[in-house]
């Protein structure tokens, strides 16, 4: 095993780790994620049927309905949300859903913006650990 660390930009602070779930296309949590099971239910999504619970979710961007934030907060409240989220594009809907889970329930799901050049390397890791602080984020990968 070869541990490597990558820089990232903090969108929602916190620390978490877990196995990766990589999404090949953006996902709308609303209509796309069942908060009661943590399963992807968008039939047109390539990762349809996959469970996000406890995973470090690698999603390039957000998509679709503006009702995604509450679905993410609710999935996190029920323990069915991702451990952390890595993105390539800032997405306000994802950020708000994660922030509200912190404000209402003190449940942290850190969100960070990864560097596009690191994406394929990160996706090749079995698991990732994210530490997102106020001055920047670090992603550790076992490669």
């Amino acid at each position: 095993m070869n541990a490597r660390t990558f820089g990232a930009v903090t969108l929602v602070p916190g620390a978490a780790s877990g196995p990766i779930l990589r999404l090949d296309e953006p996902l709308s949590f609303w209509g796309g994620l069942d908060s009661t099971t943590g399963t992807i239910i968008d039939r047109l999504h390539p990762q349809w049927g996959a469970r996000v619970a406890g995973r470090v979710l690698m999603m390039p961007g957000g998509r679709g309905s503006s009702s995604g934030s509450a679905t993410l907060s609710e999935a996190l409240r029920l323990g069915n949300g991702p451990a952390a989220i890595l993105m390539l594009e800032r997405d306000a809907i994802v950020v708000v859903g994660a922030m509200v889970a912190v404000e209402l329930y003190e449940l942290a799901c850190p969100v960070a913006l990864a560097d596009r050049r690191d994406w394929e390397t990160l996706a090749a890791a079995a698991s990732l650990a994210l530490e997102a602080g106020p001055n920047g984020a670090a992603i550790s990968a076992d490669l």
Binding site: G64, S65, S66, S67, S69, V96, Y105
Partner: protein, 413 residues
Amino acid sequence: MALDLSPLDRELLGGAHGAGAAFAMRLLVRFADAVDARSFLDIEAAHVDGCLYHGRASLDFAERMIDLGGKVRVPTTLNVGSVDLIHPELFRGTKEHAENGARLMRAHIELGCAPTFTCAPYQTLWRPRFGAQIAWGESNAIAFANSVIGARTNRYGDFIDLCCAMTGRAPAYGLHLTENRAARAVVEIVSIPEDWDKERLAVAVGHTIGRRCGALVPAIVGLPSGMSEDDLKALGAAAASSGAVALFHAVGRTPEAPDLETACAGLTPELRLEVTAEDLREAARSLSNLNDGAPLGAVSLGTPHFSIDQFSRLLPLLDGARPVVEIFINCSRVTLEEIRKRGWEDALTAARVTLVVDTCVYVSALMQPGVSAVMTNSGKCAYYAPGNLGVGIAYGSLAECVASARAGKVVRL
């Protein structure tokens, strides 16, 4: 980069306008930081999407705001809720869901929001003006306000739209700023299926730009003249379902796109797409997973909410044999009043139409439990209904939907 707070922002944060506004401003500051905004701007109005019940978290948030004594600071409309408060008997979900859904809707009224409960607030008296800075939730409404009206909003999701309403402030970023409103993708419609009406064309074009333009603002060239507001509403709703489109320019039709050069603000597009009649047919086909002739349990119209013009187009189609399956039509309270005023309700009821207000069939439990196949004229409903309701779906034109309701199976004209 540090966030530049105005004196008003500091007052809001410090609690001078109440604890609810302070909580909302605290969240907005963290949000602004996450989206890399440098300051806030005043908004004229808000449209709040958070009154649809997604579980305990949405209710906990609204009730936290009430506990803190919060009230909205700008005129605020409400998107659909989970239940039809005018026809509560239509709801077939659990008692807990019905109670919590209604409680969430009433909580937003208590916070000072207007009980519009519609996803088409732009077709009411609350329609914003050209150039207005607003904070809107609901993806189809966002697309319409930006594109068709030329008002300015980002894609505000649950919670943050309410925070903007409670403070009258929104982060100055994205589509609030002129420089981000230029088209970065040019989509040229090179041919159109000859037998299509404009609404079907709108849905297929919307579905296509949503899937293919990513986060780029598209300028659409080659749409026929005479696209109505309802057609553009269908286009935006489809594009905001299959993709993240918050603003599109229909060249020669929408206010910021008198011509292609103006729409692009002199910038070279990052993406150029040519869309043919065959691409459009394939886009429309991909919205159906039921075969032609498949038996139907119901037809659903009005996603986004049906306008009075759409009802006037529908009524002549309903003349004739009584449909075999029920036709649900979602509309706003105001449209329902107008229908009654015009004396149309009896004709609709006689044609097996169930009018649904305050909510929408595809987000609520309104259909008979046995219904497993539905037909719709909406790209958005076709996109989401299979996941939300667990039903098979057929997409078709308004006329095909009526003919199919009459036959009880998917009919193509």
